[in-house]
């Protein structure tokens, strides 16, 4: 047998699923909820962007509108870029009417199917540094305020997708490029 030791092999330059999802979980902390709130305020609609990551539920808000929470936040939030000096963020928010929200909460598996069709595949990258979160949030809020946003209709289902794309690049802290930053 020709045993290969870990130190002799670097051919597997792609993450395990566990590592991948850990990165995604980390991505959940970049300020999405804040952005959702800002987006709602910006567009002034009585619809609610959907936060995610938990058990599907519908919350009636004090103003009489409803908010639905569905799992699968990584499907809505994307970050792409290269390890090293810059990142570009794109956040996609899903808004829905109450009827759709109810349906979604009751059939969240179907939602996944619809989202697969409705949302263009996302990029994931090595967003990992705590310090970038503040910068990301700030950049996104600024983008919203500056209306650096595009509103697009999904082709599948009844969802409306608000795609907020920042054109802002910013420096991140050093560390990513050497690969030592923990996920």
């Amino acid at each position: 047998m020709r045993r290969r030791k870990r130190s002799e092999y670097q051919g597997d330059q792609y993450p395990s699923r566990e590592t991948f999802f850990n990165r995604r979980r980390f991505l959940l902390g970049v300020g999405k909820v804040t952005v959702i709130a800002a987006a709602s305020l910006t567009f002034g609609r009585r619809v609610r962007a959907l936060d995610a990551g938990g058990v599907p539920q519908i919350n009636e808000l004090p103003d009489g509108t409803f908010q639905v929470e569905v799992p699968g936040a990584p499907d809505y939030l994307s970050a792409s870029g290269n390890q090293g000096s810059s990142y570009r963020y794109r956040v996609t928010l899903i808004v829905a009417s109450l009827e759709i929200a109810t349906f979604v909460a009751q059939n969240h598996l179907l939602l996944y199917g619809r989202l697969d069709e409705a949302i263009r595949p996302y990029d994931y990258d090595d967003l990992s540094v705590t310090e970038t979160r503040t910068a990301a949030e700030g950049a996104l809020l600024q983008a919203i305020r500056d209306a650096h946003c595009e509103v697009a209709s999904c082709t599948a289902g009844d969802f409306i997708s608000l795609t907020l794309t920042t054109d802002l690049y910013y420096d991140t802290v050093s560390g990513c490029s050497c690969g030592t930053v923990p996920w």
Partner: protein, 354 residues
Amino acid sequence: MRCSYCYNGKKFDRRMPVEVALRGVDLMFDTGLGLAAGHKLLFFGGEPLLEMDLVRRAVDHAKQRAKALDTGVELRIATNGTLLTGAALEFLLENDFFLAISIDGCEQAHDVSRRYEDGRPSHADIVANITAMIRGAPDVRMRGICVVDPQNVVWLAQSFNSLLAIGFRDISFNLNYEAVWNEESRQQLRTALHELGEAYMGCFRSGRRVAVNIIDTKIAGHVSGGFSPADRCDFGCREVTVAPSGNLYPCDRLVRQDDDESITIGHIDHGVDTVRRAALIKQKNRVLADCQECVFLSRCMHWCGCVNLAMTGSVGEVDPTLCWFEQQLIEQADHCASTLYQERNPLFLQRFYS
């Protein structure tokens, strides 16, 4: 058919009595075999379409049993494709069979080994049958089963493209472990795997969904942290093969000429001999000291008793050539996956990380 690499040895022309087939079906439903993954009934030969009456009887019985238990049964058949026509095909389609069709890819790769008894090539006939079948039933569930042998390895990528062109989206390449792989054919395999990898990545880049077992399983093994015990066949725990004689085997590949009692795990008359089965599983699952620290250990098929038996004559003995094969496959799969990951290929991310 008289395929040159057939691991079933000489054709023993033994037909399965109807009673054995029906009791085999009963074994599945009565013992809970396959409950975890659902009841699956696979017909395997020889060529099972030569025994359509038997297949019909077994299917009827399985459906009755499933209905009585308020459950389902998935039907599968492994066929050489030469008889995929007429009433037999109609029956398979009506019953939503999953078809595992033996076809070695392009004409050269196929006809070098897969010939009729009189020596005639079979590729053209099989392709014609499959093409006609797809025309009438575009959603037919099918997989191409492709043997990779020193005689046809140079056409591996060509075969992959040929199978795609025919209409296959699910392709299983099975190395002929019993063949002699000398240094020249090993080099050819290395080159061929690289070419296959390029073609595989090309599919992802063009958004074309394909399944290729020898690459997919190695990638899946990495992203899931290695094969778990549940990923393994478990050698007779979840799957039992019934030979025409009624002997039970842990895998269809092991029946061969049905003359090796050391690898049987019981008889249809007495059920599964769990003690024998446990002993075989223990044999095949042992890990050699040499392999303990190998980075590929959790992704390696060293535990496949069928391959071990084919290569060493023992389900528990691992041949160094298997080690070489596994390393080639893993390295090529990792090359594809690393490249597609770096490209953030949407189909790749969806496929392996959703």
